[in-house]
């Protein structure tokens, strides 16, 4: 079965659409922290759906045996499939529950220059939500946050991933 609407849209249109979304949120919520929260929430809702699209189209169908493998799949298959970039997975914690994704380029922020009045804004915070939502659906409870962002003057863009637990299925409710 072929995918519907495989036709590409202009990446500029995508980038500008995301930009106006963030701009509108800034108008609506004013505080940078609040905008960060809203972007994360939106991303989470996207991620919980996107995971099935990912699973339906990725060739890898077997379960990852450890978080290291998961992070690799996220970077090499997930980011590639939806954003066309492949971040580097690095900076692992000793127990392999925390790592960083280094983004050499960020398609969401191509035209963005953050004014100094918004130094607390995580412009691409949607990505953190998407990752958290998608991983939640495969039973991994994580925290995801921007540790560094070139938009804020940092030398690199770094998303940090932390695995808290791998959840188990709840038993169906009994009739009694």
């Amino acid at each position: 079965m072929s995918r519907r609407g495989e036709a590409k849209i202009s990446s500029e249109l995508f980038t500008l659409t995301y930009g106006s979304l963030v701009a509108q949120l800034i108008k609506d919520y004013e505080e940078d922290e609040e905008v960060n929260i809203q972007l994360e929430k939106m991303g989470y809702n996207i991620g919980t759906r996107l995971i099935d699209d990912f699973l339906a189209n990725a060739t890898q169908t077997s379960k990852c045996t450890e978080f290291r493998e998961t992070a690799d799949v996220v970077a090499k298959v997930g980011f590639k499939m939806f954003l066309g970039i492949v971040p580097t997975v690095t900076n692992w914690s000793e127990d392999f529950t925390e790592c960083s994704l280094i983004l050499d380029e960020n398609p969401l922020a191509t035209f963005v220059e953050l004014p100094s009045s918004h130094k607390d804004l995580n412009f691409s915070n949607l990505l953190c939500g998407v990752l958290r939502g998608a991983l939640m659906m495969v039973q991994m409870r994580t925290d995801v946050w921007f540790k560094q962002d070139v938009l804020k003057g940092d030398p690199i863009t770094e998303i940090r991933l932390k695995l808290h637990e791998i959840m188990v299925d709840e038993a169906p409710p009994s009739d009694e």
């Binding site: 759906r49 339906a56 077997s62």
Partner: protein, 143 residues
């Protein structure tokens, strides 16, 4: 050869979709809703059983079981979506067909922004696509 029915469950056990093409016996419990609950409970228990009893590390869970009168074909995605297609006993491997039914769910239910995640799917287009795909399977041929 033929196909009897199709169930789609989410991880929590909500039946998002049920469609029936043929029924040749009256089941013990009368409502579709009660049957869906029974089905999900059975899938959960069977999955657990398969895991417990397995002499080798479990990878994909179970794919089907066959009784004297019907075959139950099963696919569970890593996201916990459960797809069930009950067919005639002579039907072969259906994993790829179940994967395609999952794709239809992604394209015609999940990607619709008006669809509330976890709700029963009411989209006619979705039902039509499921129906079309299932009828197109070479082992459909219901009389």
């Amino acid at each position: 050869e033929m196909i009897f029915n199709f169930y789609l469950f989410d991880r929590k056990g909500s039946c998002l979709h049920f469609q029936e093409w043929k029924r040749m016996a009256r089941s013990q419990s009368h409502s579709d809703d009660a049957n869906a609950k029974l089905m999900f409970g059975m899938l959960y228990s069977l999955k657990d059983f398969v895991k417990r009893i397995s002499p080798v590390p479990v990878k994909g869970g179970f794919h089907h079981y066959t009784t004297g009168s019907y075959k139950l074909n099963y696919l569970e995605t890593l996201s916990g979506m459960k797809l069930v297609l009950t067919t005639d006993v002579n039907v072969g491997d259906t994993q790829d067909d179940l994967r395609n039914l999952h794709k239809i769910y992604v394209e015609y239910a999940l990607k619709n922004p008006c669809y509330v995640f976890g709700d029963v799917i009411t989209s006619d287009l979705f039902k039509e696509k499921i129906d079309q795909y299932t009828r197109g399977l070479h082992y459909f041929r219901a009389k």
